[in-house]
């Protein structure tokens, strides 16, 4: 596997769906438009599909600046922080609330930052 992942606080995704006004659909109906695996249950637990894939858009070409230029950040703003290969990066979770996933490269490694 050449993909890496960062796992953080979860259970937030659900609320975004509510706020976009999506209604609950059953998994089979909503997935008929794409080629993702059609699953309504994994183990003993149901899978719920509330939005079409990519309805919450990931960030695929992330841009970064140094701290001195980051006038858009507030000191009290919550972030996910990563130090890897000598590089430190911060991701505002207020921003990730609207995107859920950042597909990034850190120190040459592909990293998915998820929220």
């Amino acid at each position: 596997m050449n993909h890496l992942i960062i796992v953080t606080v979860t259970a937030l995704f659900a609320v975004a769906c509510q706020q976009t006004g999506a209604t609950l659909q059953n998994a089979a109906a909503s997935q008929s438009q794409d080629d993702l695996p059609r699953v309504s249950q994994i183990g003993r637990d149901p899978v719920h599909t509330l939005l079409r894939p990519d309805a919450i858009p990931s960030i695929d070409a992330p841009q970064f600046v140094g701290a001195a230029e980051a006038t858009f950040m507030r000191d009290e703003e919550p972030v996910i922080g990563i130090v890897s290969g000598g590089v430190a990066k911060a991701f505002s979770t207020w921003h990730l609330d609207h995107h859920e996933i950042v597909n990034d490269t850190i120190a040459g490694k592909p990293v998915a930052v998820t929220w």
Binding site: V9, A11, F13, I59, M73, W94
Partner: protein
């Protein structure tokens, strides 16, 4: 897509489905595979940039808060479907530091760790030191260690050595050059963590 009240992602290469909680593929060609985890921490921008002055930060619009503020404020509801707490040892919405080592799991209420700063504990017979930033096996070779906070680092009571929270390496003192084994440690809602892992709950 949601499973056990947690995000399910897909990858564009194989179109497999992945659970965010443990990075495992739950359906599709990659089913059963697990992504490697990069350690991360949750903090505030102000604290992060003081500790990491050279940090980069993701460019974004200026924002004033989170659309999830109401979700945080409601202690009962989990997810959109009003799931029940799977394990009443802790509150469903209580934040925990979920710890994993060699397929064994434990959870520490985040409040305990924040109150003490450094939490010396034991799970599955293994001594651990848990902090909000990172967690380690509290052992150097065969020697068991107990830690206190030392600014942005740890100091062990047994030798007085100073240990980096970033790398787990002793950067000063008699054990300089030794390295602690890092354990996976992440903040999660108890009500979600408990649905994924059978976990010891550590309170002392």
């Amino acid at each position: 897509m949601l499973w056990r009240d947690a995000l399910v992602m897909y990858d564009r290469t194989t179109r497999s489905l992945w659970s965010q909680i443990d990075g495992k593929a739950v359906a599709g060609p990659m089913k059963g595979e697990r992504l490697a985890e990069v350690p991360s921490e949750q903090t505030t921008w102000g604290k992060w940039k003081r500790r990491h002055p050279g940090t980069l930060v993701l460019v974004k619009p200026t924002l004033r808060g989170s659309p999830y503020a109401g979700y945080f404020a409601d202690p009962e509801t989990i997810g959109v479907r009003g799931s029940r707490n799977p394990d009443p040892r802790l509150g469903a919405k209580e934040l925990v530091i979920g710890i994993e080592r060699e397929n064994q799991f434990a959870a520490v209420p985040l409040g305990i760790v924040e109150k003490r700063g450094v939490f010396n504990t034991e799970a599955w017979g293994v001594p651990l030191v848990v902090t909000r930033i990172a967690s380690f096996v509290a052992r150097a070779g065969e020697r068991r260690l107990t830690f206190d906070s030392a600014g942005h680092a740890l100091r062990d009571r047994e030798t007085g050595s100073i240990w980096s929270l970033e790398s787990g390496e002793a950067i000063d003192g008699p054990l300089k050059g030794s390295r602690l084994e890092r354990v996976s440690s992440k903040i999660a809602y108890w009500g979600v963590w408990a649905r994924f892992h059978e976990s010891e709950v550590l309170r002392k």
